[in-house]
Amino acid sequence: MPPRLRSCNLSPSTASSPISSNASVRPQCISQPARSLREFSQSPCPQTTLRRRRFYEWMNGPGRQLKEPLPSSTNYLGAYDRYGNLVRAGPGWSREKAKQAAGGEDQPAMKVEEVKADTDADGEATKVPEGQEDLDALEKAIREGEAEEKEAKTPPKDEEHDSKLPPETAEDLRPFPLNQYFRSQPVLSEDLREAIYQRVKRDGATVSLASVEFGVSNERVGAVVRLKQMEKEWVAQGKHLAIPYSKAVLDMLPTTPYVDSIKPANKGKRPITHEPINDLIVHPATRQQLFVPVSESRHFTRVDAGKAFDNNLQPADARIPHPELVQAERELAQGLSFEERRRLAEERLAKEQAEKRRIEEKKQEEIRAQKVVPQRRWDFVFKDVSVDAVGRDGRSHKGVGWRYGVPHDDRKKSVVKIPTKVEA
């Protein structure tokens, strides 16, 4: 674990006096004598090896902080330095006080203004860009929003802000300190899930619209609706939800709060983007570097670049999950009026829905064409098959029925019998 320095959180008074700062190097770590015995054993272990001693020293020293979750905060290994001190905590913070405060319905989150002032002092607080590109900036915005939410819940109290915990930095969210390319990313909060469900189910918004509105990817919107639907069914059936588990887990994870724009307190606030919604998948054809000589006078666009890599490779505008956003932006740049743009958008939506309906009808048509004979336990379904499905050599796996010389592998010893898909 690379050592983390607690430079930013040293208060000016301690920084100025070297003696007191030396004294405050290990304030949070309770130095306990290494327990001579385990919980179950009464006798001291005579032959503790060096390794075991070190293990228990670490578990009773720095590891002690990780045993129980921090109240309403994440608690990862990356947030501590090698002595078990919480790096982001101010000098006045202590775990016991935080726990008491949480017990007495008060949450230890520093006020957002203070945090912002702190980061301004560090000189790293830049204006959060609206863009989708910078993941770090996105997640920082989420964290600030979360802190704000927590602050809004707590009644305002005149306390010294030393005793509160500032929101996490990107480093504090590393469960594996050595892997700097992985961090615990925020999950949707309960309120946000409910809001997405209501928007789609009650208001009838399309998935892509909800995705743009909440800053949540298309697939996630679909999944949230599906899971919420199931949750409501459980409640209706009287099954017991795992609420204690849910609360404990969501308390340990970073969450994206829901900014309800209807509430008067949130007037003028933008909804917090959960994740980048326009992810472009890296096409395998573009993995290699390509040198294409092009005359300087030629207008060489993205479309041409795609063609150079692969003849079937479409430009990014068509391959991202929300091409309609690009289209809308282009129309805005063309200077079309609001009514005009609205009409165009409606036309596009109608076209899309017609296409969807057509596909759905085709599927229904196919199902209707099948002959179904209901039986006691199973239904027999008759489908039309083609003899040509066996392929040229007659050995294609798509062929139907028993063919001479082509054995069924499905009961053979070395063939994998795990299903490859389960119909939803």
């Binding site: 608690n75 594996f176 609420i243 204690p244 609360k247 887990v249 992810d279 998948i281 990014a316 991202i320």
Partner: protein, 415 residues
């Protein structure tokens, strides 16, 4: 004589395993970047492979994993729609001949850590996904859940831990098993056992000393009160509504039972203002609420002449009614479900009651973005395969990027 099987968690050879144990935590804290100065390349690769495989899919045989290994690693690049609308890409090729005089400072996006994605095919396995969704405390436990038939995929029982999830698959674990897997273990130290034994003995002694005496006779106090005036009622209801507001504002926490009880008492007090109500008819909170509502509706329907201001506006406005209703609903749901899992003391439960998360769980609690989890029903959806993006790899791996690189190179089979 066969070789002794090595310990799963050994302090001699520190291995990070996919579980929430203190040994794994200690091993993570002791991990270092690979030693590249004194070892040969082969040795480096071997060591990297050994340590990463001890974490990723250690329950699989090497050959099974080797067949799954893919050298092409998936990645995405986040695009900005505004940029795509404004430029058609030709501006990137613009040189001095196109009139571009000065070179603008180009933003370099952070590096895409492909090399941390070596083990991404294993994240598709059902058992690993259950562990990543925080439904089991280790991959082996998740595997056991699957084999024991406690897991459904898309509503059908799936007994193969090696099932490769497809994007959009929903998997669901039995909530009682999840509570067991993630809850604190039910152990009692010898000291705690001794204390309870002593207490029981003391209680028995006490009982022997003074035998039970009949409970003192308490006469039911009949409240002789008149019908309340509308003004009084209104005041009372307003107090109630304020209380509801408070309840709605704050999240109901561990102390929710106490709050719920006090709230219910205040409701009872409000009801006791009417003589007509008897406790049997209004035993549940729901019926209590219905009762309150109908009574108030009657009262407001027949306006009393002496208090015109109260009659002009109904005692409970529409908005307040909605608030009351939602508060009732929320409280009812939470207390019902929480008390179902946390009875006062349940020796039959396989976890320590009342339920609390297992030790060291918070250090391992993260949910990768390729899963969407609903903790209430212990179900999750596998959204897509894990990908690398600039500055971030979605496969959770505790190792240094150089270790990942060496392990990837091992499986390229050019050694």
């Amino acid at each position: 004589m066969p070789r002794k099987k090595p310990r799963f968690h050994s302090l001699k050879k520190l291995n990070v395993r996919q579980d929430w144990s203190r040994w794994s935590l200690y091993s993570i804290s002791q991990l270092r970047a690979p030693n590249v100065t004194t070892k040969t390349y082969f040795q480096q690769k071997w060591a990297a492979k050994a340590s990463t495989r001890a974490y990723h899919g250690e329950q699989l045989r090497e050959k099974k994993w080797k067949r799954q290994f893919k050298r092409s690693l998936p990645a995405v690049v986040p695009m900005e729609h505004k940029y795509l609308a404004r430029y058609d890409g030709s501006e990137q090729a613009a040189g001095r001949g196109m009139g571009a005089d000065s070179e603008d400072k180009k933003r370099t996006p952070p590096m895409t850590p492909y090399m941390q994605m070596t083990y991404y095919p294993l994240e598709r396995r059902l058992d690993t996904a259950i562990f990543r969704a925080l439904f089991a405390s280790s991959v082996r436990q998740a595997r056991q859940f699957v084999v024991h038939g406690l897991v459904n995929v898309n509503g059908k029982k799936m007994i193969y831990p090696g099932y490769q999830l497809n994007p959009g698959d929903m998997f669901q674990v039995e909530p009682s098993s999840v509570m067991f897997a993630t809850g604190a273990q039910k152990t009692r130290s010898s000291l705690a056992r001794k204390i309870t034994r002593e207490k029981a003995a003391a209680r028995a002694e006490e009982r022997e000393k003074n035998p039970a005496r009949p409970p003192p006779h308490t006469s039911a106090v009949e409240s002789t009160r008149d019908e309340p005036t509308p003004a009084e009622l209104k005041k009372h209801m307003q107090a109630l509504i304020e209380q509801v507001d408070e309840l709605l504002e704050e999240d109901v926490k561990a102390k929710d039972k106490q709050k719920f009880r006090s709230f219910r008492q205040s409701v009872k007090k409000a009801i006791s203002l009417w003589k007509t109500a008897n406790p049997e008819t209004i035993s549940t909170l729901d019926t209590q609420f219905e009762f309150l509502k109908t009574q108030i509706a009657e009262r407001s329907a027949a306006p009393s002449p002496k208090d015109p201001s109260a009659a002009a506006e109904p005692l409970i406005s529409e908005e307040d009614q909605v608030k009351l209703r939602s508060a009732f609903e929320k409280l009812r749901l939470e207390t019902e479900h929480t008390s179902a899992w946390n009875p006062k003391r349940n020796n039959a439960a396989p976890y320590a009651t009342p339920w609390r998360p297992r030790d060291y769980m918070s250090a391992f609690a993260f949910i990768p973005r390729y899963l969407e989890v609903n903790q209430n029903i212990c179900a999750a959806v596998y959204l897509r395969h894990p990908v690398a993006r600039p500055g971030l790899a979605e496969v959770p791996t505790p190792f240094h990027i150089e270790t990942g690189q060496l392990a990837f190179n091992w499986y390229l089979r050019r050694r």
